[in-house]
Symmetry: C4
Subunit: 205 residues, 4 copies
């Protein structure tokens, strides 16, 4: 049998794929907080020293916040696309695993950007990972829509979805570019991007 | 279509929202223990040195204990309120994500308070996060009760619930205030607050 | 209404309690590995130095192994007892949370015992936590059997179960005592105890 | 009753075993990223220094990547084999727990290999753990196929499955051997092995 055709085989129930994916998403958003380290104080009772210590790690809070919202957005989009599938096959499972691999990597660029917010390489690395994540998600979504879509949902796609999906990589890459020109703009691009996806696709009614 | 109205759209099943939320809650309560560090000993076999080391981190144990019970209480209340919803929409999902964001942040103020129990800023930061968490939960609960409540449960609300809910922020903020006056009182306020919610609401029979 | 009686109220489905508990158990057993630190080498390519480094943390591997099996045993017993319940009430949920609190604490005494295997206090602390965990589990089990048992399962209890349950605390406390007399015996007691529970209760047929 | 026979008793539903296993798998793949530490920079804004720091931890990225794919492959195989079982008994649960124990251990050899990629002992330890994991999985699979298989699936086994399963240990052990001869070859063997299992078994149609 054709090697590539074998991936389209299998008729796996979606339950455990959702359970595994939900687990990964839940752990990522919760692990992100581990990168926020309590500042070390010379005088443990000194309010001013602690206040300064907390202000100093503000970029890490910001980095955590942006990542949290982005991962939640991915979870929601993932939730939406999986519902279109009538079942899972091996191709979908591996695309899903690849997508989750990039998701589970998110704490690293988050920590990098949080720790070196004035280093263009650190800030642009964050955007590159997010761009790749989005592209992988788009491939997963396209695979499901083409091969595994529930017959009753076929043709009901939101016509704006493709353009909105493209907005993700475009905005993240704009952030990547801005990281080398004007750093605060990069943070803005990253923070704004998930807002394109906080409303539901138009197709459901 | 109106931007805000779009949030009330969507007819999402509750299963994955519960799975994601349960995952986040389970990870938070379990991650809390990572902040309890084994004391470093000069003589690894010295019982007295270890005993002293453990006594020294008593505030961290206390901080862990209070956080554990508070997060469990939030989980239980979350469990209760989600059961009222007939389904989920985008507004509920984002309010839920925002609430979970503050929950997943809990290990940070817990570590802060555990490490600097005699620093008013550290102790009051804990209470402020808990107040904000409770307010976000109340907004989520109000949103569900107003927009998504199962018809058969409508009007069966526990009349004492609103007052009990308010007790949360009031007590946490009392702890925040006491942190600047008499520190042990702040710990007492934090520890006592979840006890208001350990019995079920009166409405179910 | 009587304060204590309110705990027996509520008719909560078991699904989310199982999901939350399974999540906590799964995270505990997996977090245990984080205490196994890669040894620091002067010469990164030196095989002998690495071999010595790994031998030196053998007590940590042993401590990890014992904890892993004990937590799996608790998960299995928890699994069994929850199946007896027809539904959950607030009393059961709080006993369950208290039990999970001690379970989620396990990584701390595990790290303590792994790092200071020749410190009687560290080794006995492990046994004390396990004893308290077992007692809390017995209380949870007794509560379910008395108040929430499915009618069709009532009276079908394994008569050996009570004695086997008691074996847990007795063996753990023997380990605690031996920690002060002859340390290796304590490790043996801890390792042997879960083996009492690896076969199923006799009642099912 | 015969001691060994008791393990074949019990008629446990598969739901919580799957939930527990999925939780463990999800946590392992996500925890792996914690071993990727942000490089420490003297000048936080220096792009070159950060680039060098990231290049220096390339072996850790590679180690993370290999482990991620291997654990996903185990999850998928686990998913497949559990579906064959009509229910669970104690023997299966303990074999499953033993298998999960080795899985949850994976972050340690991953960190070891990532940190000391030019140390033959570190690189071969990775392969040995993977070999043992695969053997434990084969024992679990054999136990299910012999004792718990759903009647309608019996006899439908993929005849190539046994040979493919053996490919796992053979390739991992080749990697272990190569670690002592030519290190890059060991990495190749480890990376290639999961690719034997990315297509589904032939039996389903």
């Amino acid at each position: 049998m054709n090697f590539f055709k074998r991936f389209s085989q299998g008729n796996l129930p979606l339950g455990r794929i959702e359970a595994f994916s939900d687990g990964v998403f839940a752990i990522i958003v919760t692990l992100l907080v581990l990168d926020l380290k309590v500042p070390q104080l010379k005088d443990p009772t000194d309010v001013n020293e602690l206040a300064h210590g907390l202000v100093k790690i503000l970029p890490q809070f910001l980095s955590w916040l942006i990542s949290f919202i982005i991962v939640c957005k991915f979870w929601l989009n993932h939730h939406n696309i999986i519902r279109y599938a009538k079942h899972a096959n091996y191709g979908m499972i591996w695309l899903n695993s690849l997508f989750l691999m990039f998701q589970s990597f998110v704490p690293f660029p988050t920590a990098l950007m949080g720790q070196y917010p004035s280093n263009p390489l650190a800030v642009s690395a964050f955007g590159i990972i997010m761009t790749l994540s989005t592209l992988l998600f788009m491939i997963l979504a396209a695979y499901i829509t083409r091969n595994l879509i529930k017959p009753e949902l076929d043709g009901k796609k939101d016509p704006t979805l493709k353009w909105r999906s493209l907005a993700g990589p475009v905005f993240y890459m704009s952030g990547v570019t801005m990281a080398w020109i004007y750093l605060p703009a990069a943070f803005c691009f990253y923070a704004v991007t998930p807002l394109f996806f906080i409303t539901p696709p138009k197709m459901r009614h």
